[in-house]
């Protein structure tokens, strides 16, 4: 395994405590450039998403080009460069869910809230995302409402669940 040499990069000027936690994560990985994915996972967990400031900070600390950090952050679906909404609705688009009709569920949500999969509503209440497969095919069609997997859904039931968030949010 290649090891990083040179002196450590200076701490983040904001003094935000979360950067200190991120520093500790990078230190645990001995600032190895190979640990970039683990570091980005940790950063996203701390901040909720990865903004440019954070990506540049990681690049400097691990001594890798910012282009590589940006390349990795945008390559993987898991990393988000935009802040998420208060609630997240994940529509499973796996084969089993697809043949049982999640395409129409997704279309109905997109139409009702005038957003596309991957977007957040203008008021920041909900982010709508799709999943490749939750592996919960026994529950098809399945949708995740804030970590909670719900199965056997219809368009009506799904919209009803989401409506509860939007009415609470106001």
């Amino acid at each position: 395994m290649p090891t990083a040499i040179l002196a450590p990069a200076p701490p983040h000027p904001s003094g935000d405590k979360r950067f200190r936690i991120l520093d500790a994560t990078m230190k645990r990985h001995r600032h190895e450039p190979d640990s970039l994915l683990e570091v980005l996972h940790a950063a996203q967990e701390l901040f909720g998403f990865l903004d440019l400031d954070c990506l540049i900070y990681v690049a400097r600390s691990l001594k890798v080009p910012p282009s590589r950090v940006y390349g990795v952050a945008t390559f993987y679906n898991f990393f988000s460069l935009k802040p998420k909404g208060d609630h997240t609705c994940v529509v499973c688009m796996g084969t089993a869910c697809y043949v049982k009709g999640t395409a129409s569920i997704l279309a109905a949500i997109e139409q009702q809230y005038r957003i596309k999969a991957g977007d957040t509503t203008a008021d920041g209440t909900m982010s709508l995302v799709t999943a490749r497969c939750l592996g919960a095919c026994g529950l098809a069609p399945a949708v995740v409402f804030d970590e909670e997997v719900a199965g056997g859904l219809s368009v009506g039931l799904t919209l009803e669940r989401i409506a509860r968030w939007t009415s609470d949010g106001r």
Partner: protein, 548 residues
């Protein structure tokens, strides 16, 4: 810890098992948890603690019990009988605990399909599901776990171990079907100051949840298989590359690694021998292409998950350019029983060229959605109708999809085909990792082909042009067909592009991306023509938008 100490744990735990009058196993795999298994388990634990039972009933959380559509599932074992209860609620807990103590299991709430579902199955990889507590290493040991590692490290030389794997005829369960023994011998023979073992747990095919279930239900089985592999090929470091979408599997693996390290079954001087092996987790970040071995290696190295040309194969130059053994979860899970029972035993199961069993995830238009393990060579009809209970709602079987976006659709006239690597390839599909999705007459085959092409288009890493541009073009053509705007020239173009992708793409993703199109064209050409010539979708799925 020495081998004798592991034996001591095994003896102690087995005695503790036998001391209980009854055992209740709650399925705590992701599917059942989503339908409320955690509350059921808590209620059962509370009920079992009450004075009247006096601790005579043991409640455990166990791996996937198989019949996922009927969850939460609870299996109750007494000295004389057992039963599987479906759609359990916390309310039934006291009655089940009392029944387990009394030794008389009630009929109410029982799953009646159990016998039909399990009879054709043969469980090797899933042997511990329903038996052990997924989060206790002692349970795994009591069920015979780590005996294979004791045997390998204590009594066998590394070449002996490789020889058993070769003799078993085991082939890669990730879908490629490459002989595992051959891979192990190549890495074993390679020179180098360092070698690595990687477990590919980046299960990406939609509709596939075999590996997730194994990792969640029996994580030590995978750790043991990897450790034996490390001993056999001469590696001291292993990595498990697991999907970020599987938080439960990740947490169970973390727990299992700590437990194994504490018992000196991982780490330095394993079982007091000179063999050292450690395992680290690497969490994927949502890229399907990382299931391809060279892309997976790039991802572990902290880079974008793009593949590179092979050769050199990872067995010669893999992680950090060192010889690297990469096998899938299910492949490693087969290793411990092969070591304890011998390669010849394993080779006696299955067909001439496909040995052993295969785990399948049944989903789609099938009565019993769930997880099964069957010997190679069972027919599709037996799997779908005997094990899976057939098509619900009185509808007709139309196709079985295997191999996900790299596989194909198998029509009804091939239902009596024995399922093994060669016969599936022979009709234009592949074994794949084990996702088996059943479609009835409400599914449109052109729409299904378009669904998979959209998947490949999104997941193409963009490195090579045939895949990057070809999947976009093919998806466009398929959309034209499902919109009713295509003519027969488009069909010709679709076929030519498919051939081009297969022949010229850099990695497996692009090389197999056209398979769903090719297989549906082969078996359901009439449906394509109905869309093109008659501007009609026979299944009524596609909304025809009009003339070209």
């Amino acid at each position: 810890m020495a081998a004798e100490d592991v034996d001591a744990i095994r003896g102690r735990e087995s005695a503790a098992w036998d001391a209980h009058r009854g055992r209740i196993a709650v399925c705590t795999a992701a599917g059942c948890l989503s339908s409320g298994a955690a509350a059921v388990k808590e209620a059962l634990v509370d009920a079992a603690r009450t004075a009247s039972t006096n601790g005579s009933v043991r409640v455990v959380g166990t791996g996937c019990l198989g019949l996922c559509h009927a969850g939460p599932l609870v299996r109750v074992d007494t000295a004389t009988e057992h039963a599987l209860y479906e759609r359990a609620t916390p309310g039934v807990a006291p009655a089940l605990v009392c029944a387990a103590v009394a030794g008389a299991l009630p009929r109410e709430g029982r799953n009646d399909d159990e016998a039909a579902f399990f009879a054709p199955q043969q469980r090797i990889v899933l042997a511990n599901a329903g038996r052990i507590d997924s989060e206790r290493v002692e349970d795994y040991i009591a069920a015979g776990g780590y005996r294979a590692l004791q045997q390998a490290v204590g009594e066998m030389t590394p070449p002996d171990v490789v020889q058993q794997i070769v003799a078993s005829g085991l082939r890669g369960r990730g879908g490629g079907g490459y002989p595992t023994g051959l891979k192990w011998s190549t890495v074993a023979k390679a020179d180098g100051p360092a070698k690595y073992v990687i477990c590919n747990a980046d299960e990406g095919d939609p509709g596939a949840f075999m590996d997730r279930s194994v990792l969640e239900g029996d994580p030590h089985r995978v750790l043991e298989g990897m450790t034996i592999a490390g001993y056999a090929v001469g590696a001291e470091q292993g990595f498990i590359y697991v999907r970020g979408e599987y938080p439960l599997a990740i947490s169970r693996l973390k727990t299992a690694i700590k437990q194994a390290e504490r018992l000196q079954l991982l780490g330095h001087r394993i079982l007091d021998s000179a063999f050292n092996f450690r395992i680290d987790l690497r969490i994927g970040a949502g890229a399907f292409v990382c299931g391809e071995e060279t892309a997976l290696i790039a991802s572990i190295e902290g880079r974008r998950g793009t593949p590179r040309p092979r050769p050199p194969f990872p067995a010669e130059r893999g992680l950090w350019d060192r010889p690297t053994l990469i096998n899938n979860v299910e492949t490693f899970a087969n290793v411990p029983p092969i070591v304890t029972r011998g390669g010849d035993w394993y080779a006696s199961i299955g067909t001439a060229r496909s040995k052993g069993t295969k785990v399948f995830a049944l989903a789609g238009a099938i009565a019993r959605t769930g997880l099964i393990e069957v010997p190679m060579g069972l027919t599709l009809r037996q799997i779908i109708f005997d094990v899976g209970g057939g098509i619900p709602g009185g509808r007709a079987f139309k196709a079985a999809q295997t191999g996900g976006p790299s596989g194909g659709c198998i029509p009804a006239d091939h239902l009596d085909l024995p399922v093994d690597y060669e016969s599936l390839a022979g009709i234009g599909s592949i074994m794949g990792s084990g996702g088996l999705i059943v479609m009835d007459d409400t599914s449109c085959m052109v729409d299904v082909a378009r669904f998979f092409m959209e998947f490949c288009r999104e997941e193409s890493c963009g490195k090579c042009i045939p895949c990057r541009a070809g999947t976009v073009q093919m998806h466009g053509l398929l959309t034209k067909i499902t919109d009713g705007r295509a003519d027969e020239r488009d069909l010709l173009l679709l076929e030519q592009l498919g051939e081009l992708l297969t022949r010229t793409s850099l990695c497996g993703l692009g090389q197999t991306a056209a398979n769903p199109v090719k297989s549906t064209l082969r078996h359901f050409r009439g449906e394509y023509l109905a869309h093109i010539v008659d501007r009609r979708c026979p299944a009524g799925v596609c909304r025809m938008k009009g003339a070209p």
